[in-house]
Symmetry: C2
């Protein structure tokens, strides 16, 4: 640490926003620097062309080319413009230390994102507490699409949040299944938060923003790149305690996500399929050579991630209620009936809070597995009675 008092938190957040626009995502040397120095100082050095002096001397030529490229890009970047552009698209900036920052990203170490751009009604951190990554090929078979949608839906019913990319095929099917189960989902994008890629999924992204979260480490305006998809995959793996590969050929990017999950010591699961299908060959390789766990449905996935589920949703959930929920959340949880359920307005009245507060807290409590949406409105999940 240098005399780090210079950068205010606000300066640092703005600097991190700028870094997402100027530098390549997930750069380990830059990430290490950000652990040692205030972000505002690192950003200033990048703009001044003095960043190289802060970095270790190894691999100098390539390093210098890269920081020079970043410096040129940095000249175009202004924090206010970025934040305005994000706000127009309904996106917010989340940086390490913010309440919405998912602590599960921290084990990425030097490759932790500099900052995240988040869009959607739900809280990113809370949505990911009880979550599972569901990934697979774009060019999926009818079998794979069926299993992904079914899995997304059954996970939703069990109050597990689906985390996936935004591609056609398995990703979309998993999101759609979860949304059909009236649950939030998290889509991790490889482009800016104000862009839709692929464009054909625009309506799906809108629905995810409405009921869940879109998240990206790419600044507003950023177009997706091949490299971007690969580094994006580490976020899908890191946001969740486990990754399920539903259907994947031997060269699918889903195997890259599984690889990240394994490196992070998260649970790697694979759905088997016919051995006659090339699109299941990647899953079978995971089972054979990587010791992935063979799963066929949400019950088996939940079993593998059991301790996380217990912590939040089973009788142990009351422990979590005491320890992890703030006063506001507690008062809303107390106001949610066990049955038959109640609407947000009635719950807000019962808790003596505004409707906005009730809506926000209900979303967080649902993401945490404490409550669920039934035919008659919100109700407490079994085993989560407040103490």
């Amino acid at each position: 640490m240098t005399g780090a008092a210079e950068g205010t938190t606000e300066d640092d957040a703005a600097a991190r926003a700028c870094l997402t626009a100027a530098a390549d995502a997930g750069d380990a040397a830059l990430g290490r620097l950000l652990r040692e120095r205030p972000a505002a100082e690192v950003w200033a050095a990048l703009r001044d062309g003095t960043l190289d002096r802060m970095l270790p001397a190894s691999g100098e030529d390539r390093r210098r080319d890269r920081t020079e490229r970043w410096r040129v890009q940095a000249a175009q970047v202004e924090a206010d413009r970025l934040l305005d552009r994000a706000a127009e698209a309904g996106a917010r900036l989340v940086v390490p230390g913010d309440p919405e920052w998912p602590g599960r990203l921290d084990p990425l170490g030097d490759r932790r994102p500099y900052a995240l751009w988040v869009r959607g009604r739900k809280d990113l951190r809370n949505s990911c507490l009880r979550s599972v990554a569901v990934v697979g090929s774009r060019a999926a078979t009818a079998y794979g699409l069926h299993v992904a949608a079914e899995l997304g839906h059954s996970l939703a019913v069990r109050a597990w949040t689906v985390v996936s990319g935004g591609a056609y095929g398995i990703d979309s099917a998993a999101h759609r299944g979860a949304l059909a189960g009236a649950a939030p989902t998290v889509a991790v994008l490889a482009c800016g938060p104000d862009r839709f890629y692929p464009r054909g999924n625009e309506a799906l992204f809108g629905e995810i923003a409405e009921h869940g979260v879109l998240v990206t480490e790419n600044a507003p305006g950023a177009a997706p790149t091949r490299y971007g998809f690969l580094v994006r995959n580490r976020l899908i793996a890191a946001l969740t305690p486990g990754t399920v590969v539903v259907e994947a050929g031997l060269r699918s990017g889903a195997l890259n996500t599984a690889h990240h999950a394994q490196e992070l010591h998260r649970t790697v699961m694979a759905v088997p399929g016919p051995v006659t299908s090339a699109l299941s060959a990647g899953c079978h390789r995971l089972l054979r050579d990587w010791h992935a766990v063979c799963v066929g449905g949400a019950a088996e996935v939940a079993e593998q991630l059991g301790s996380i589920g217990e912590e939040l949703a089973a009788s142990g959930g009351t422990v979590m209620a005491c320890d992890g929920l703030d006063e506001e959340a507690r008062s809303i949880l107390d106001a949610v009936p066990e049955k038959p359920g109640a609407g947000p307005a009635a719950i807000a009245a019962e808790a003596g809070t505004g409707l906005d507060t009730a809506l926000r807290q209900l979303g967080l409590l649902a993401a945490g597995g404490f409550i669920e949406r039934g035919p008659s409105g919100w109700r407490r999940r079994p085993g989560t009675a407040p103490p």
Copy 2:
């Protein structure tokens, strides 16, 4: 050991033949006794009603009921009649110590068969040297039947012998695939060697006897029983270095075979299938809970059993040629060309033996992985050139 000189080998073989007719197969107490005393002595005690005195006193009542039942059955049994009946059906008796006895059965310990009844042109022991058990449900799906036949055929082409039961479904498909690959197969039956069960497979059993081996631990005339199928499964597992379950529901007998294979520390493999198919649920349980190896075809099976393959078929095969083949087999192997291949008559002439001898030895050499049948006749397999 008591003064064991009494029983001649011939007496012991006849006694073991009688035991297969009078006692339940795979009885551990009887098996232990047979390891300690000559079979003729054990058989005499069973007939005389003095067997109980040789057995440990534990669980006395059930034990006594059982030996009494055996004694009653034993009164009907005569070795000569059994052997005659077997001979009529073309079956021979094989007992421990015989050259055709498969040493792989010995780790069954007290549950080793008392004797085997063998029918067919091939030598049981040699056929099983380079073999793999391929098992699964009777009520298989089109997918399972396709995979079983394909696997049987590809194993055959790679000179691996398929060992299975005689049931409809996966068993039959695996045998048929292997036979279509012009390879011997081994069917382990749960009835006497002179019976066909199920009757609809009579033609298949005929073909297996013609090109491979039928084997059973049940005496001529024995009808199949539910218990018999379960103890039969341990033989399928024990005869081979590894078992592949192609398609099996959660209550399939194939899981019982896999369980035996695991107890014997043999390799357990499972072919995955759609998670939407109840008939693959047993395979998926093996993959998830038993750490079975996920395999999709013969190449992956062979890879798992690699060391056995190398021992016999790769360059190490010459070691086997020196150590394990007798003079007659060596002379035939020397007469088999590397390419393009030759017919049995030409090989017999080259080796200076009769055609019968040549035919028998060619079968054994093929079962051992030394030679294979190509479009122009028999040829040596790569890496098995004689020293």
